[in-house]
């Protein structure tokens, strides 16, 4: 049995996508975040990406932890099931959900406190398992919801609104993700939607563990001078290695990788990641080189953004589990229960 999506009735002039949905069909409840919060821009980018990709909203599962960032799944894709779980544990909940039904699209939204402080372990282990998901950290360097304490991604020397200076080494989630074997790694900035939307689109179409670190200033607690996560600071230090376009549908125009400007990476599902290179020595399909480049630029104080690494032929957890094609949550009694006759044989073997 299948039910066709029924787009809500909107203003007739709103543009629609291939499924007949308008952008509004991808919206959610009204945000209760602070006006100007970077997180709201990321929600908008997610909405745009899903619209562009012609995704059926109800085929997305939105998961999050706890924090201002983790509230956002309520503010986009209102027709999707969402799960605002507990602090720092989105990755395990998402992993379980993914195991249960391999057919949905999994979108994990988290904060820097949620993923780099309390949730660092789950962040790491979900990536190394290759869970097929788009994992976005809305990174503002502070705990927004609890009013402005430093998080573990705060840079050493960054100044809090109240004046204290952060003394601990920061955790660079992108560096971690690369080390941990994530197969799609990007960094965006909530202030640059043009860059962010395709990053998200590429991640959603990626068939493995896709991670996006999205710097997302907190206007309430971390947008002052001295902060390294303010709009101004990020704008000044942002160094994009490439610009991405995600091309769907027809056969890709495979551009050779010359000294020129464009490079096409074809993902497993046929989607094409078209990269316009901004740094000529950057190859986003070479993990070790990417790590090295990022370490160096970080040491030089740059915030490198763009599609930083992609493995166009990723594996995923279902592959390593070797699960059946049908989602596990659709298997019925016949497929699951061995029955009385088999049990009699088990009993016989136990005498």
């Amino acid at each position: 049995m299948s039910f066709l999506p029924k787009p809500k009735l909107h203003h007739p002039k709103l543009p629609t996508n291939a499924l007949g949905f308008t952008r509004r069909d991808y919206e959610g409840a009204i945000s209760t975040l602070c006006a100007g919060c970077g997180h709201d821009s990321i929600s908008a980018a997610i909405i745009q990406a899903c619209f562009d990709l012609d995704i059926e909203p109800h085929r997305v599962a939105k998961m999050s932890g706890i924090g201002c960032s983790s509230k956002t799944p309520d503010y986009f894709l209102g027709a999707s099931h969402g799960f605002n779980s507990v602090h720092g544990r989105m990755p395990s909940v998402l992993t379980g959900a993914n195991l249960a039904n391999r057919e949905l699209i999994y979108l994990g939204v988290s904060g820097d406190g949620d993923s780099a402080s309390i949730g660092l372990g789950q962040f790491a282990h979900s990536l190394r398992r290759g869970v097929n998901m788009t994992y976005i950290v809305e990174n503002n360097g502070v705990y927004g919801l609890t009013k402005g304490q430093f998080s573990a991604t705060s840079d050493k020397g960054s100044k809090a609104k109240k004046g204290t200076i952060n003394a601990d080494e920061p955790i660079d989630l992108v560096g971690m993700a690369l080390q941990l074997g994530a197969t799609y790694v990007g960094r965006g900035f909530s202030g640059d939607k043009d860059q962010l939307v395709p990053l998200i689109k590429g991640a959603i179409r990626h068939g493995g563990a896709a991670f996006i670190d999205c710097i997302s200033p907190c206007v309430a607690f971390n947008n002052h001078e001295g902060s390294t996560k303010s709009y101004d600071f990020v704008r000044e230090h942002n160094e994009a290695v490439n610009r991405l376009d995600v091309i769907l549908g027809r056969a890709p125009i495979t551009t050779a990788y010359g000294p020129g400007e464009l490079r096409d990476v074809v993902q497993h599902d046929g989607s094409v990641l078209r990269l316009r290179k901004l740094h000529s020595d950057y190859d986003p399909t070479d993990r070790v080189a990417a790590m090295n480049y990022l370490q160096e630029r970080k040491a030089a104080g740059e915030i490198v953004t763009g599609l930083l690494y992609v493995d166009p032929e990723p594996s995923d957890l279902h592959a390593s589990q070797n699960t059946v094609a049908l989602p596990l949550n659709r298997l019925d009694d016949a497929a699951l229960c061995p029955g009385a006759a088999a049990l009699a044989r088990v009993n016989a073997g136990l005498r």
Binding site: M1, F3, L4, P5, K6, K8, P57, H58, A61, M63, P73, D74, G78, A79, S80, H81, G82, F83, N84, S85, V86, R89, P91, S92, V93, L94, T95, G96, A97, N98, L99, A100, N101, E103, L104, G121, Q122, H125, R129, H318, Q321, N322, T323, V324, A325, L328, N329, L331, D333, L336, C337, P338, G339, A340, A342, L343, V346, N347, L350, R351
Partner: protein, 617 residues
């Protein structure tokens, strides 16, 4: 503990033997051989491994209970000690009941002071025999175990044929190994027949009391139960004594859940990075409509508390097998207890109440292992299945597993796309049926209807966030209503009325069952009559409260220090503390019939029952 109790015990034989070998070496399989051979003679046995929390080199015991009546619990005391470990000699010798037997390796002479006058000593020069027969040191070690099984078979009148068959079965395809084991067995047996007075006072006679019962450990049984219950996702983190439950699930899944055409799996098992992740995965999978579980032990239960609260409040099914070990903290990881009862029933901060099942043996581990998933789906909340190390890791003789092929998974109240399409009102936390149980939808069900946002915060009946006191209270009261509804759905208690009308009763649960049955028989033989009720689940079925109401005093037998189930009875049943007399065993060893017997007899005065003096033996 008190001494041996006469007549009934005369027909009992109980063997306890020690070995200093490495876990997993030949001795363990010799132990199994010994135990199984008795079983194959149709004599019920109960066997228990007692092992340390390390990998190599520390003492290990294997205890076999043989009882003419077919009692399967621990009795207490030892009739025949096979003392193979010099490290624990003194302790082992001390444990033998007066008149009992000590079997040892007499290769090296021991001073008289190392023995006791009131026991029978049987020496067999095992090492000497091995050294004479084998040159390879590994062989010497290996076959020593089979040799003493041979000697014991002569001493106890175990049929050699049975052992030969077992060895043949065990070494099927490795005929040479089978042969050399047979030889070693006969070497021991022949030596004993030639040099010792065989049989001794404890002897085994073929019987038909085993029937069609099976011999299996509770963890495997629970894992199999999860297969039959339709679990497809298992997320776990290794911890003694629960590890073999996940392993059992995997073993049976490999056998029964591999898609024949593709070799692909109809299940997923993730060894998570810790217990927080395990339960998180279970909740994620259940939320998404798969049946999912984790298996753990005490420390894991502590770590899962936050997520259990989410499962309760957001109403997401989760099944948690807790194979209890001795706490608190790391406690005694290889010892047994029933001490996570409160940690399970009221897990997590805030007001919570969870479903808890108490299987008595592997058969119930199987049964409840399957049923737990129906209950979790129906009531959309955590269901704990409380095994313990004793049930979980020891092989128990129990009724065969049973399954009715007409049985179907009860997925609970799940609203389908068709129902949504037909316009049924969907409120995720709406008590549409008045039983406290709301409807849910699986993610991805319908393009425009039935989606909702799941959260651990308070929300209204339509899953919208709210901080309104009235909506919060409304929801919390519905959760109580749901819990009330569950009472009639969880396994009912099992009553065993006394032979004569009794004013006192006894409540017990889980692995205490076998020892309890034996203790009740012994008490009855002394004229102490008690009605007995075995509790199988929390919340308590009305029968439990009725039972208590019908008696002046009720003993509550538990394997923990703080009488945790008694706390639940008082709190949930509103029962007067004075009427519930705790009987507590918590030293980490499985409770014994003797302990229960003595503890109750001790308190007999409170019953106003004068135990009849037993006749002289």
């Amino acid at each position: 503990m008190v001494g041996t109790h006469a007549a009934a015990d005369k027909r009992d034989e109980r063997l306890r033997r020690q070995f200093a070998n490495v876990n997993g070496s030949g001795s363990a399989s010799a132990n199994q051989l010994f135990a199984k051979s008795i079983l194959r003679m149709g004599i019920p046995i109960a066997s228990r491994n007692i092992f340390p929390s390390n990998i190599q080199g520390l003492p290990t015991w294997f205890e076999v209970r043989v009882s003419g009546e077919g009692h399967l619990g621990r009795r207490g005391g030892v009739d025949l000690m096979v003392a193979m470990n010099p490290q624990t000699w003194d302790r082992d010798v001390a444990e033998i009941d007066p008149g009992g037997y000590l079997f040892y390796d007499s290769t090296k002479p021991l001073p008289q002071s190392k023995f006791r006058a009131d026991i029978n000593v049987i020496g067999v020069p095992l090492t000497q025999m091995c050294n004479a027969a084998y040159t390879d040191s590994r062989q010497r070690q290996l076959f020593k175990n089979i040799i003493y099984v041979g000697a014991l078979s002569a001493l106890l009148q175990i049929e050699p044929k049975v052992i030969e068959t077992l060895l043949t079965e065990q070494f099927k395809g490795k005929e040479r190994l089978a042969k050399s084991n047979q030889d070693a067995f006969h070497m021991g047996r022949d030596w004993a027949l030639a040099n010792l007075e065989c049989p001794i006072g404890l002897r085994l006679a073929p019987s038909d009391k085993v029937g069609d019962r099976i011999y299996v450990d509770g963890n495997s049984a629970a894992g199999l139960g999860a297969v039959y219950g339709g679990a497809t996702v298992c997320a776990w983190y290794p911890i003694t004594p629960s590890t073999s439950l996940a392993e059992g699930f995997e073993r049976y899944c490999k056998r029964f859940r591999t898609e024949p055409e593709t070799g692909r799996k109809r299940y997923a098992i993730v060894q998570a990075e810790d217990e927080l992740a395990s339960i998180g995965m279970v909740i994620g999978a259940s939320w998404n409509g798969a049946r999912a579980f984790t298996a753990t032990s005490g420390p894991g239960i502590s770590l899962m508390q936050e997520f259990v609260g989410l499962s309760y409040f957001a109403e997401i099914p989760s099944v948690i097998f807790d194979v209890q070990r001795a706490g608190p903290s790391t406690g005694m990881p290889t010892r047994t207890q029933q001490s996570d009862v409160l940690a399970a029933a009221y897990a997590s901060h805030g007001d919570t109440k969870h479903l808890v099942l108490f299987p008595e043996d592997p058969r119930e581990c199987f049964e409840m292992g399957a049923q737990a998933f129906d209950l979790a789906d129906r009531f959309q909340q955590p269901v704990f299945v409380l095994l313990d190390l004793d049930i979980g890791m020891n092989d128990w003789l129990c009724e065969p597993f049973a399954w009715d092929d007409s049985r179907r998974m009860d997925r609970g109240k799940v609203m389908t796309a068709e129902e949504l399409e037909a316009g049924q009102v969907f409120g995720r936390y709406l008590d549409a049926d008045g039983d406290g149980v709301p409807y849910r939808t699986y993610p991805g069900t319908h393009p425009s209807k039935g989606a909702f946002f799941t959260r651990g915060t308070s929300r209204d009946r339509f899953a919208k966030y709210t901080e309104q006191g009235a909506a919060y209270v409304d929801n919390m009261q519905r959760l109580l209503r749901k819990f009330e509804t569950a009472k009639a759905h969880v396994p009912r208690p099992v009553e065993r009325p006394a032979a004569q009308p009794a004013r006192a009763g006894v409540l017990y649960y889980g692995s205490s069952s076998a020892a309890m049955t034996e203790a009740l028989a012994a008490l009855e033989a002394e004229g102490v009559h008690l009605d007995a009720l075995r509790i199988r689940a929390f919340p308590f079925h009305d029968d439990v409260l009725d039972f208590i109401a019908r008696h002046d005093k009720v003993f509550v037998v538990e394997q923990n220090r703080d009488a945790q189930l008694r706390t639940l009875l008082m709190t949930e049943g509103g029962i007067d503390a004075a009427r519930l007399v705790p009987i507590l065993h918590y030293d980490g060893t499985p409770i014994t019939a003797r302990f229960i017997h003595a503890a109750i007899a001790d308190k007999a005065p409170v019953l106003n029952v004068v135990p009849m003096r037993k006749a002289a033996p």
